[in-house]
């Protein structure tokens, strides 16, 4: 109908396979399920940050006409605990409330007005407990304990890594810079909030359709929380309306499961409204970072000492892993022979911390990249020059001591940026600021490690089936949350199998049909699943050729070619259609699967920790260098980003269009993190509860962006690629901070850089100086 069906080719900007159904409104998200007899489900949440739950009054709600069921922890058959590594979160609170968004009661009702009325009729009696809202204070002696049974008090994890001897090394430095930085919560604000649909199938199995990045893992969490056999649970993940890490793990799933077990056979729908999403969903961990960086007179980095404090809120979730990844990137993409990096992750009664694109790296990049600029200023060195001088190359060690054995394009990114007109013409641009405006440019250079690290297997299982109609059906194993990995699967398989859009089909992750392939996270979606898929496709191609050569009575399969819908023997012109071939093959032969596990770092680090560390170190890193053009208004403090340039090393580019989509989207979220997204929490309560108070960028707030790939082949990657999902979100905050310093000599230690904070800093610096 619309896009000419080209054969898929690696390297081509093939339009995404899901674009058509989305642009016509036909694509069904988890939030789009309805049926004639469905039931609404929702939970009553705590509203107080720390309390002992004493009793729950549900009778009034139960009696309300139209209410099917009102459930508390007493109605939970299983452990009533969920969590990815530590199962420390109740599905419905039984003893203790640990944050304002804790779920207390689950209600099932015929319609939304009844549901809302029922929720208002529910009361619970509680004893308020002294609460703790600061991660550093949480680690002090007498801080109120969030988990009384935790032997480490409010400490979730402490990790300490070192290389060399940093104490000695500082004595050898001619220049030492210190800095402290604070970054806030960041809210994912995906357009589709947490949503799902659940029902009991005829065979009694629980089926859950959810907006989830982790359909396979979810089953384990649901099974243990609800006391079900994992074989009895099927999870289906349609296209997600955005996730960015906020749907990594359980959101609605266990609640939906419990609801479906109590809905008298009727399907159940749960869809968090925006305020509930803000209240109950995980957020990027806030952090306080204290840095000390030392260099030799010629700008060579020599010593780094940093202390990092992360706030995980009430539950462990993946926060220890987030801190571990942050620590691995705390020194940036630079050679630093002596480092001491220490991190503490503390429980508080603040909103729950969890994964958000970047996973700890945006936080430390914000700090380190500002430190580099501050050092450059002190040494009177050009900020690009000092980065070039110290950028890691393949074979160097990173700041935690891991050897960079795979492709390492940091320097290539910097050199490409250096040659770009935007860098070359920056002085001229800066000098032409208008009235009451000051202009500056800012750099950031970054790395991003992909995958899960050495312990949790980063693995995928690809599956391809030749259907009766002769189509190649690809069973995607990794959720597509908008990043286009499902389309990329088609492109990869299509390229190897010589097919086009009309002769291929895509099945989105479904635990009954696809094979376990890990989470949609950690910049691993295309790398890991793609590697499995390539192997599956290549094996399948061989198998199909062997069958075809037999059927076509050709001695070898050497001169066979796969083309859309058929296999052709090139010398003789003999052909067999794929549908014919399918009919003549045994069913088991028509499916091909392949496993892939990503390589892990073998090196042992000089590391100490309070509990087991997952997620450090990594072995595969993407790199980027960013440049921003910034204009600040002297009268209001408002910042406008005029242009943004990013140069990225993500290996080879499979699809230039998808490449740009990822980079541009990450930059936009990073700019929000830098300029306007202030998720304000006071005494554990969110004061920015919706999109009118939590400010994400509109079309008028994101500039035109230039994104340039530096294509260094990564031999271990599918067609030479590396992860791309997260790298670009790491750059904007420090690039903007550095540009602001360039424009008017100020640094704001607490982000986002709102007009008020900027104007205040400008005033402090020069109380009477406002140039026309």
């Amino acid at each position: 109908m619309l896009v000419k069906s080209d054969i898929f080719r690696i390297g081509h900007p093939v339009p995404r396979a899901d674009a058509l159904s989305k642009v016509t409104g036909q694509e069904k998200y988890a939030a789009d399920y309805y049926s004639p007899n469905f039931v609404w489900a929702a939970v009553k949440r705590a509203g107080v940050p720390h309390a002992r739950l004493k009793s729950i009054a549900v009778e009034a709600a139960r009696k309300l006409p139209g209410v099917l069921s009102v459930l508390t922890h007493k109605d939970l058959p299983g452990s009533n605990r969920q969590g990815i590594i530590f199962k420390d979160q109740p599905v419905l609170v039984d003893a203790k409330i640990r944050h304002c968004g804790d779920a207390i009661v689950l209600v099932l009702a015929e319609d939304k007005p009844t549901l809302n009325k029922a929720l208002l009729l529910i009361n619970f009696d509680y004893e308020p407990l002294p609460a703790i809202f600061d991660p550093e204070k949480a680690l002090e002696e007498r801080a109120p304990l969030v988990h009384e049974n935790n032997p480490d008090g409010n400490l979730l994890q402490h990790i300490s890594v070192k290389v060399g001897d940093v104490k000695e090394a500082f004595l050898e430095c001619t220049t030492i810079i210190e800095g402290s930085f604070e970054v806030p919560f960041q809210e994912h604000a995906y357009l589709e909030t947490e949503a799902g649909w659940a029902y009991l199938a005829e065979d009694g199995r629980l089926v859950i359709v959810a907006s989830t990045q982790t359909p396979f893992r979810d089953r384990f969490e649901i099974a243990s929380a609800l006391g079900l056999n994992i074989d009895k649970i099927r999870v289906i993940a349609p296209y997600l309306g955005g996730a960015f890490g906020g749907k990594d793990g359980l959101t609605v799933q266990s609640l939906l499961g419990l609801a479906a077990l109590n809905s008298q056979g009727r399907p159940v729908k749960m869809w968090w409204d925006r305020e509930e999403s803000f209240l109950a969903g995980v957020k990027r961990l806030p952090a306080r970072m204290y840095y000390r960086l030392g260099a030799k007179a010629d700008g060579t980095l020599h010593a780094l000492d940093c202390r990092l404090y992360f706030d995980t809120g009430p539950y462990a979730h993946l926060s220890s892993e987030i801190m571990a990844l942050a620590m691995e990137h705390a020194g940036g993409p630079y050679r630093i022979p002596h480092t001491s990096i220490k991190g503490w992750c503390a429980y508080t009664n603040n909103p729950p911390g969890g994964p958000f694109r970047g996973f700890g790296v945006p936080q430390v990049t914000a700090a380190m990249e500002q430190m580099i600029d501050m050092l450059a200023a002190k040494l009177k060195m050009d900020p690009l020059e000092i980065r070039r001088q110290n950028a890691v190359r393949q074979g160097d060690r990173n700041c935690v001591g891991v050897t960079l054995v795979n492709s390492t394009g940091a320097l290539d990114c910097l050199e490409t940026l250096a040659a770009h007109p935007l860098w070359q013409e920056r002085k001229k641009w800066k000098e032409s600021a208008g009235s009451f405006k000051r202009r500056g440019v800012g750099l950031a250079c970054m790395a991003h490690g992909s995958g899960y690290g050495p312990i949790i297997p980063d693995e995928a299982n690809a599956k391809i089936e030749l259907t009766d109609e002769g189509k190649m059906r690809i069973f995607c194993g990794v959720s597509d949350m908008g990043q286009g990995n499902a389309s990329t699967c088609l492109q990869i398989a299509g390229d190897i199998l010589g097919q086009d859009a009309d002769s291929m089909e895509l099945i989105l992750p479904d635990t009954d049909r696809s094979l376990p392939s890990g989470s949609a996270s950690a910049s691993r979606c295309t790398y890991t699943y793609g590697n499995a898929l390539i192997r599956a496709a290549q094996a399948f191609k061989q198998r199909l050729f062997e069958r075809a050569s037999t059927l076509l009575m050709i001695p070898t399969s050497d001169d066979l070619s796969l083309i859309p819908g058929r296999i052709r023997h090139l010398p003789s012109g003999k052909e067999i259609s794929l549908s014919q071939l399918a009919q003549l093959m045994d069913p088991p032969e028509r499916t091909c699967t392949h496993y892939y596990r990503a390589p892990v770092a073998q090196e042992k680090l000089e590391l100490h920790s309070s509990s087991k560390v997952f997620g450090l170190p990594h072995i595969l890193f993407s790199y980027a260098a960013h440049l921003t053009y910034l204009e600040v208004d002297e009268l209001t403090g408002e910042i406008e980003i005029k242009t943004y340039l990013s140069v990225s090393d993500c290996g080879r580019v499979i699809n230039p269009q998808i490449y740009e989509q990822q980079i541009q989207g990450g930059i936009a979220q990073g700019l929000g993190y830098a300029l306007s997204e202030d998720f304000i929490v006071e005494e554990g309560k969110g004061l920015t509860p919706d999109l009118s108070t939590y400010i994400i960028p509109t079309t008028l707030d994101v500039p035109e962006m230039v994104s340039i790939p530096v294509e260094i082949d990564e031999p271990t990657g599918p067609f030479g690629l590396k992860g791309i999902g997260e790298i670009s979100i790491n750059g904007p905050l420090p690039a903007v901070a550095n540009a602001l310093a360039d424009a008017c000599g100020i640094r704001v230690s607490r982000s986002p850089f709102t007009p008020e904070r900027v104007l205040s800093a400008m005033k402090e610096k020069a109380p009477h100086e406002v140039k026309p």
């Binding site: 109908m1 619309l2 896009v3 900007p13 339009p15 995404r16 899901d18 674009a19 058509l20 989305k22 642009v23 016509t24 409104g25 036909q26 694509e27 069904k28 998200y29 939030a31 789009d32 309805y34 994912h188 604000a189 995906y190 357009l191 589709e192 909030t193 296209y239 997600l240 309306g241 955005g242 996730a243 960015f244 409204d273 925006r274 949350m481 908008g482 990043q483 286009g484 269009q657 998808i658 740009e660 989509q661 541009q664 989207g665 990450g666 930059i667 936009a668 979220q669 919706d690 999109l691 009118s692 994400i696 509109t698 079309t699 008028l700 994101v702 035109e704 962006m705």
Partner: protein
């Protein structure tokens, strides 16, 4: 039909037209944008009674029998669609924009779409798509 039923609920729940999405329920995100008598409006802030005598166009209604609307084609071709949840509202706002201003500059496109939040794309390819569609419609 209760006169205070939200139009977005009528579309999604009563008419099975789930193309129109809800992102905030408070007029802040634009995901629920529809066309009422050709003008873009937020269906989460409209009540059933207000539909009397009006014609409503949702995303399901802008393609013809055999062709997509040029904006839809352009969105696909130019990579303007990622997760897609903002897209129905975005496309309809673009329809309204091009009706008022058939040859907008990139800045005018940004202004015209400033009521539609997108969290995935960073907007650039959306602007590319609308510019391309405007050219196509104009020629």
């Amino acid at each position: 039909m209760p006169s205070d039923r939200r139009v977005i609920d009528i579309l999604r729940e009563d008419l099975n037209l789930t193309g129109t999405k809800e992102g905030c329920g408070a007029g802040e995100c634009g995901a629920c944008t529809i066309l009422v008598d050709g003008e873009s409006r937020l269906s989460c802030l409209m009540l059933a009674a207000q539909l009397e005598g009006r014609s409503v166009t949702t995303i399901e209604g802008i393609a013809s029998e055999d062709r997509l609307h040029p904006l839809q084609e352009a969105f696909v071709e130019h990579g303007a669609v990622q997760c897609g949840f903002c897209i129905p509202g975005m496309v309809l706002s673009a329809v309204d924009l091009l009706q008022r201003n058939p040859n907008p500059t990139r800045m005018e496109i940004r202004q015209g779409l400033s009521g539609n939040l997108c969290r995935c794309t960073g907007y650039q390819k959306i602007v590319d798509a609308v510019k391309a569609a405007a050219r196509k419609i104009g020629s």
